[in-house]
């Protein structure tokens, strides 16, 4: 029984994953403030580290091709413990949504709208997301390719425009920091943007592609998103040099520096627009996933009536989640990665193990 009958094609799924990752370009300061000029190495490292998690997710997708995470939990752990797991996941999804909408609010607040109350900005934005989410996954993912290509275009063009300010020297000295920093950085990056792709476990039953091909598209999307992030980090490091560690929004500062002629300067608005677009996309997906998990946990027939109320809860949650941006930054670079690690890697892994022990997929096939 599927609540949302929308279909996503393979290419769209690929770009959806890519777009989801690209939207994290706002969050690079979580690790650039720690790893400084070696951030690009850490990005690659984080990418490699998150490959096993990726394999776990695609494995779950393969053995339960038409069951989303909540249903998988029910099957694997039984109805009671499964529900418990699902509720924990629900908390995770909801926290992610609130965090992301909070990030967006902070960004808008910091860059342009200092006086406008956050509730207005978030409320309007959430209303917009709610409109998209109500219309199902097809509407939410429709523009993934469009957004991804725009983001890639902006990243590439700004890289060219800042070429005259880049210095290779800024990457030196390489690998000259305590080892723990690299591990910490890689851990942050593997959990905060990369690991978050586990939310697609809630969406994969809507895919139009064969279970075997899902891994391919998933990985391609992952690579596109990862490469974009890497390019952004490299660009920012090359331009900002050692000052990268002091900025809260390195990409924004980089774009502020663009000045080819006096006319072609001050184009940070490009970043702001693309970021709002990407964040809209990411929040929509997280929001959708939250709504869907509630709908499945309570076995609802339709998710549409939930949308607005969940949106309000997410906004309220986002107001109370961190008292200030400093606490947010601290937790993002210190505590959150460990919490997220549990949801993103350990729990799915346990799911696989239990499923293997109970030989579940076979049983399911027998049932059909």
């Amino acid at each position: 029984m599927k609540i949302d009958k929308g279909k996503i094609s393979g290419i769209q799924f690929m770009f959806t994953v890519a777009c989801f990752l690209q939207s994290s370009s706002l969050l690079t300061s979580f690790f650039t403030s720690i790893t400084k000029q070696d951030s690009w190495i850490v990005t690659i490292l984080g990418f490699i580290v998150s490959i096993p998690s990726l394999l776990i997710y695609t494995y779950i997708m393969k053995i339960f091709p038409d069951k989303n995470l909540v249903e998988v939990n029910d099957i694997v752990f039984g109805p009671i413990i499964g529900k418990l797991f699902s509720i924990v996941y629900l908390w995770f999804f909801m926290t992610l949504s609130s965090l992301n909408i909070k990030d967006l609010g902070d960004f808008v607040h910091k860059t342009t709208m200092q006086k406008t109350p956050a509730i207005i900005i978030l409320g309007i934005f959430m209303l917009l997301c709610a409109w998209a989410v109500r219309n199902g996954i097809e509407v939410v993912t429709r523009y993934s390719m469009f957004f991804t290509l725009i983001a890639i275009f902006i990243v590439i063009s700004t890289s060219f425009l800042t070429m005259n300010q880049m210095k290779i020297d800024n990457f030196l000295p390489m690998l000259n920091q305590p080892r723990m920093i690299y591990i910490q950085g890689a851990h942050i990056i593997s959990t905060i943007p990369f690991g978050e792709v586990m939310v697609f476990l809630m969406i994969h039953p809507n895919l139009e592609i064969e279970p075997k091909q899902r891994r391919k598209y998933y990985t391609y999307g992952f690579i596109i998103g990862g490469l974009t992030l890497l390019t952004i980090v490299i660009r920012d490091t090359a331009v900002l040099g050692n000052t990268i560690k002091i900025f809260a929004l390195p990409p924004f500062e980089t774009l502020r520096l663009i000045s080819i002629y006096s006319g072609l300067s001050r184009i940070e608005v490009l970043f702001a627009v693309s970021l709002i677009m990407l964040m809209f996309f990411k929040i929509c997906i997280l929001y959708y996933v939250t709504v869907m998990s509630i709908a499945y946990i309570f076995n609802l027939k339709s998710f549409k009536s939930l949308v607005i109320s969940v949106g309000i809860i997410i906004i309220m949650y986002s107001f109370s989640i961190y008292p200030s941006i400093i606490v947010h930054m601290n937790s993002a670079s210190k505590t959150a990665p460990f919490q997220w690690f549990m949801f993103e890697t350990i729990l799915p892994f346990i799911t696989i193990i239990v499923a293997k022990i109970r030989k579940l997929p076979k049983l399911k096939k027998g049932m059909i």
Binding site: T116, I120, D169, P173, N176, L240, N242, I246, R256
Partner: protein, 390 residues
């Protein structure tokens, strides 16, 4: 179907109402802002306080008439106040003007010399922290008071700040030494050993008319201004920092006088630590030479002249570099960023070097290797009074 459209309609109605009824908190019409184009910071008698000067672009035209001549500083308004911090100064000035001060278009930050000697570091923080301060704002040190410079106008650009930006843009075409943005300054401050440099602007009198001039660089250490580079030393700095795009080399020797244009400069700077733990910097500069002007060199063959010129050219560049390097040793300020070179190249030894950098810097050796290739002699091959080649 009907219900679906109803909801769509509700959304369509609700959204505009939210927008219209919620008001416009951040809406600031253009006639409610004062566009700040320049910031000056001068020392005051009070140790703790600074004199803060703002230059505001005058947008209302009712006071000016085209007949009054372009030289009056009518296009901008100068505001001054004394305060402890930058933001408190801005707040004070806000009460003097009828409109919101809008800092985003600030073109330049100028420190008066006195203030520079007292230190500039504490005041940089505000320029970094505030969202409306941009990182590409240029930084200068005024020979004298920043106020005087902001009061002065330029020939083609009536306001100082837009003029100085253009001036720096113009110099950037051959040398980038004079363009120090807030970002560059911060980058230099963050580097542990580097002594920041900031270009100096000064006023020069030309037939009763004051003109602005970029002259040399100011050298800072943690405390404040410690020295200045004159023209020659600045050229040396520019050579070492690879900031020349193209320049002229002036050769003035017994045989005659010549101007060489050097372009297509290739640069290589290699830090080394030799066996005796001595720090060596080897600098290599290769450039293409075009003869731009020749006076004298009577009765010499073209070959002899070009050889002499190349030789002398190398000497001139070398002299410039060494003067600058000596100056930096004299001030014991590593404004040439050699420390950073060692940091990047020898990260392992760096910890040790860093701690005794002040002592070790005196021991650093600079070896230069300059190679010039003559590629063109301009439109003519021989000079008017040169000997014909047989």
């Amino acid at each position: 179907m009907v219900i679906k459209k109803l909801i769509l309609f509700k959304i369509i109605v609700i959204i505009p109402i939210t927008f219209i009824l919620t008001g416009c908190w951040d809406n600031k019409e253009l006639d409610t802002i004062s566009i700040v184009t320049g910031v000056g910071i001068d020392a005051t008698e009070d140790e703790d306080k600074i004199e803060f000067i703002l230059q505001i672009e005058r947008v209302s035209q009712h006071n000016t008439s085209p007949l009054e001549g372009a030289n009056t500083n009518d296009s901008s308004i100068i505001l001054e106040t004394e305060a402890k911090g930058i933001l408190s100064a801005i707040e004070k000035l806000q009460k003097q003007v009828t409109r919101d001060l809008f800092m985003h278009h600030n073109q330049a930050v100028i420190f008066g010399k006195e203030q520079a000697e007292k230190g500039i570091k504490p005041y940089i923080d505000a320029f970094l922290r505030q969202q409306d301060m941009r990182m590409e704002t240029l930084v200068f040190v005024a020979e004298g008071k920043a106020k005087d410079i902001l009061h002065n106008s330029m020939e083609q650009d009536s306001a100082f700040s837009s003029g100085i930006t253009r001036m720096v843009d113009a110099t950037n075409r051959y040398s980038e030494s004079y363009s120090v943005r807030v970002l560059d300054l911060v980058s230099m401050i963050i580097e542990e050993t580097t002594a920041p440099t900031i270009p100096i602007v000064r006023l020069e009198e030309h037939e009763k008319e004051l003109r602005l001039l970029l002259s040399g660089l100011a050298i800072f250490n943690d405390g404040g201004l410690i020295g200045q580079l004159n023209e020659i030393e600045t050229r040396g700095y520019t050579w070492i920092m690879d900031k020349f795009k193209t320049t002229f080399i002036e050769i003035d020797i017994e045989e005659g006088f010549s101007n060489l244009n050097i372009s297509n400069i290739k640069y290589n700077l290699e830090p080394e630590i030799n066996n005796e733990n001595k720090l060596i910097i080897s600098l290599e500069i290769i450039g293409d030479i075009v003869i731009s002007e020749i006076q004298g060199f009577d009765n010499m063959t073209v070959k002899a002249v070009t050889d002499t010129l190349l030789e002398e050219g190398k000497k001139v560049i070398n002299r410039e570099i060494q003067t600058c390097f000596n100056k930096s040793k004299e001030l014991n300020a590593d404004f040439l960023r050699f420390g950073e070179e060692f940091h990047k190249k020898f990260p392992k030894q760096w910890e040790e070097i860093k701690n005794n950098w002040n002592d070790m810097y005196q021991e650093v050796e600079l070896s230069t290797k300059i190679e010039l290739n003559l590629i063109d002699t301009g439109k003519i091959v021989n000079s008017l009074n040169m000997k014909e080649e047989n």
